[in-house]
């Protein structure tokens, strides 16, 4: 399946030049590669999205999918996977979606370690609702709902994921498409809950791309299976725009742990292929 086969005919309604185009391209490239490499089957790809600018990607990818509710991407992904373990499940969420409305699902899905991938388009703002603060907005962020500026420090999703048991944790940059494609591929190949926080500046409401240009760096000489190293790396940047900060991108953490579905003997094949023999008489015997 070529990259083109993932296109749809829908008109793309992101703002011109939006870094979301970069994410879309990286995803298509990664999926196309993985299909060509026979790591996945196109017919088994199932995506889910939340609500916000990120979620428009649902209309632009010609794959199975469920365009869900704001904040509920991960339960949808989880549900698809437990109904059909053969699916390659990929969730798309925004930072408001995942770290505000849906943060409980984020924490618990790190624990569950279901074999699926979660990509968060993190622009540190609510964009589609015209520029309000999210949990990853920096202290002092001024939006229409916070004219006096945000008073709290941002949430650190990388640290949060590592601490809560995610088995693949990475950070990408929407405008570094090749690098992003690489980690998306690794994330999908990883058996377990894979999470990538993708920095995706919003050109209209929170354009921090000039800052990223100066401060972003690749993770190097880093042992991805070492929890302490991973955690310490995750704390190098606290999502504030500090002058001296370095923003590492790449894979922070990657370990093996039994997946959710591995631990349930019932989860061997898709439920729609399970043939049931229902025996009512046997079921009600216990009540006599």
């Amino acid at each position: 399946m070529s990259i083109k086969d993932f296109n749809t005919k829908e008109e793309i309604t992101w703002c011109p030049g939006c870094p979301n185009f970069g994410i879309l391209q990286a995803v298509k490239n990664a999926l196309s590669d993985l299909v060509k490499e026979k790591r996945i089957k196109a017919k088994d790809i199932a995506i889910a999205s939340g609500i916000g600018c990120h979620a428009k990607i649902f209309d632009y990818l010609n794959v199975n999918g469920f365009y869900g509710l704001h904040g509920r991407v991960l339960p949808l992904c989880f549900g698809m996977k437990i109904a059909n373990p053969e699916l390659t499940v990929i969730g798309f969420g925004g930072d408001g979606d995942t770290y505000a409305e849906g943060v409980s699902h984020f924490i618990h899905n790190c624990r569950y370690n279901t074999d699926m991938t979660m990509l968060v388009h993190n622009n540190k703002a609510f964009a589609l609702t015209t520029g309000q603060a999210t949990p990853t907005s920096e202290k002092g962020f001024v939006g229409r709902s916070t004219p006096l500026g945000v008073k709290e420090k941002p949430l650190n999703p990388i640290a949060l994921a590592i601490v809560n048991g995610a088995t693949f944790v990475a950070r990408g940059y929407a405008l570094d498409i090749n690098h992003l494609k690489g980690i998306i591929k690794e994330a999908i190949k990883h058996k377990g809950f894979s999470f990538i926080d993708i920095l995706q500046p919003c050109l209209v409401f929170n354009n921090f791309s000039p800052y990223l240009k100066k401060h972003i760096c690749r993770l190097r000489n880093h042992n991805v299976s070492d929890f302490k190293q991973a955690f310490s790396k995750s704390m190098e940047w606290d999502y504030s725009f500090e002058k001296k900060a370095k923003i590492p991108i790449g894979i922070f953490y990657k370990i093996k742990r039994p997946t959710f579905e591995d631990q349930w003997p019932q989860l061997k094949k898709p439920w729609y292929r399970v043939k049931r023999k229902i025996n009512f008489k046997k079921t009600i015997k216990a009540f006599k």
Partner: protein, 547 residues
């Protein structure tokens, strides 16, 4: 023969298990039994009680005058001895202070047996059944079937000791045909299994939890998946994800959890994915009286979720109906790609009912999924009856589900034309659903008479047991609330002299729905909102007084 027995004690003393066992033995002897559970929201202490009503004729409700009180503590005596019948007696330990007490030196026996406190149940059970003249061997055999595990030897010994201390006062006949003894929750579970459920997901909440426990215990044998997730929002969204990917899925909760689920019910509405929601009502608002009963969420169930979309709301009236209605909920939900809500309550869910036979619905449990979906598959194809043939991700073609208004492929649209088209498509189903439920006894009529009692759900038991004492009354039980069986209800109302609404809530919610749907306002209402279920006397005395 008819006896009403109250079994009371502190939480943790085993009153529920004892009551259930006694009920089961009577069922094995061919008697009809109804078992009511009353317990506050705590783990140890407080006051729990069960009321067993036993009869040689069918019984569907309990009463509040007792032939026997089995007391595990003084509080039970203090609270209930005023309700003891004239010929009645209290059974308990020698430490109790009570009139008409048959006492047993429980503590001494336990010491001799070196048995834990919980074994006191079995001593009392032994005594109780000897009193009724039930054969010892028969009793021990029943105990062996119900109580399994390490303690069975000790249990049997304690039953024998209690038995030998008692005297035969009555000679209970074995009435032949064994009865089934099953709670409403178990009925829901059996119905789900019989529908071919794949996945049940819930977050614990009284009184819906017994279904979670029942199915969780069945999951390996019946090859289903039963999960408890982080909250009700996750529960229902995961269930929709699972439904999208082809699993037959059900979730269960009570009012508070149902409230959290409502946004996703709206998602079920627009995404047109099959989903069955089990709502076991308890007394609200908010935390309310959490382990007690009410029928106060009917309009909530009918209206839950923003926006307009069709749905099924069905209200079983007992455990047998729970089996049938659960199967119907699954069938209609799968066939019409709609949300089905089964609405029950604490009283219906946690009471045990007895039956000669248990029936399953003859409806198919197929999933209505295309075997070979076409390449150019449209997830939301507009069809005559509004139901788009269903395909699943993984089958081949691209399959979509969405919370946005959409075109036939499931791609987002915002234009007026498609918004109307898709609304119309979804509502086309209603006419077909109405036809379908007209064949499923959407209402039931019991008894004969010019006057009419209207009720729904778990009040069925108390109303049925009231009928013999009411002159010229028949009972209309409404089982389908959505779509609402307007015509048949309107006809029944029209041909009645008096129409009385009986509901376990403060305002008469079914009455509101009847007013909205039919334009008839029922003024004569018997409403109970003390968090307790009706007993027949509540209905009989009110109807007689109202004359």
């Amino acid at each position: 023969m008819e006896k009403t027995i109250l079994i009371g004690g502190r939480a943790g003393q085993g009153t529920a298990v004892t009551s259930h066992f006694i009920g089961k033995v009577f069922c094995a002897l061919g008697y009809y039994v109804f078992n009511y559970r009353d317990y506050p929201s705590l783990i140890r202490g407080g006051h729990n009680f069960n009321v067993l009503r036993i009869s040689d004729k069918p019984v569907y409700s309990h009463r509040d005058r007792y032939d026997i009180i089995m007391a595990f503590d003084q509080k039970t005596v203090n609270l209930h001895q005023k309700s003891l019948k004239k010929q009645g007696f209290i059974l308990g330990g020698t430490d109790l202070k009570a009139k008409r007490l048959h006492s047993i030196a429980i503590e001494t026996i336990l010491k001799e047996l070196k048995a834990p406190q919980i074994i006191e149940n079995d001593i009392l059970i032994g005594w109780f059944f000897k009193y009724f003249g039930v054969d010892k061997k028969f009793l021990l055999k029943e105990a062996g079937e119900v109580f399994k595990g390490k303690k069975i030897g000790l249990i049997k010994k304690a039953i024998q000791i209690g038995y030998d201390l008692s005297e035969k006062k009555e000679r209970l006949k074995n009435r032949g045909k064994k009865k089934y003894f099953i709670s409403g929750s178990q009925g829901i579970g059996v119905g789900a299994l019989n529908s071919g459920i794949d996945i049940y997901i819930a977050y614990p909440m009284t009184p819906a939890t017994p279904v979670l426990h029942f199915l969780a215990g069945k999951q390996l044998k019946d090859n289903i998946l039963v999960l408890q997730l982080e909250n009700e929002i996750s529960v229902i969204n995961s269930a929709l994800g699972a439904s999208f990917a082809g699993a037959k899925t059900m979730v269960g909760t009570s009012g508070g959890g149902f409230a959290l689920m409502t946004e996703a019910m709206s998602l079920a509405g627009i995404s047109e994915l099959p989903l069955v929601v089990y709502l076991a009502q308890r007394t609200g608002p908010a935390t309310g009286v959490p382990t007690y009963t009410a029928q106060s969420d009917l309009k909530f169930a009918v209206n839950a979720g923003h926006g307009e979309f069709p749905r099924i709301v069905v209200a079983p009236g007992d455990s047998q109906e729970a089996i049938l209605r659960t199967q119907e909920a699954f069938y209609l939900s799968s066939k019409y790609r709609t949300l089905s809500i089964i609405i029950s309550d604490k009283h219906g869910a946690e009471s045990d009912y007895s039956f000669n036979e248990l029936k399953a619905s003859p409806l198919t449990n197929q999933k209505f999924i295309l075997k070979n979906p076409p390449k150019n598959y449209k997830s939301y194809k507009i069809t005559k009856n509004g139901v788009s043939p269903r395909a699943l991700p993984g089958q081949g073609p691209v399959v979509r589900a969405t919370s946005y208004e959409h075109n036939e492929y499931g791609n987002t649209i915002e234009d007026a034309k498609w918004t109307i088209k898709m609304n119309d498509k979804r509502f086309k189903k209603v006419r077909y659903l109405e036809k379908e439920i007209s064949k499923l006894n959407p209402v039931s009529i019991y008894g004969k008479g010019k006057n009419l009692i209207i009720g729904w759900g778990s009040t069925k038991g108390a109303i049925l047991d009231s009928l013999p004492e009411l002159k010229d009354f028949r009972f209309l039980q409404v089982s389908y609330i959505s779509p609402f069986p307007k015509k048949v209800i309107e006809n029944e109302i029209k041909k009645s002299k008096r129409v009385i609404l009986v509901e376990n809530n403060a305002t008469g919610l079914l009455g509101d729905i009847i007013a909205e749907q039919i334009g008839y306002i029922i003024k004569d209402k018997i409403l109970k909102y003390d968090a307790r279920p009706f007993i027949p006397d509540n209905i009989i005395s009110k109807i007689k007084r109202k004359k």
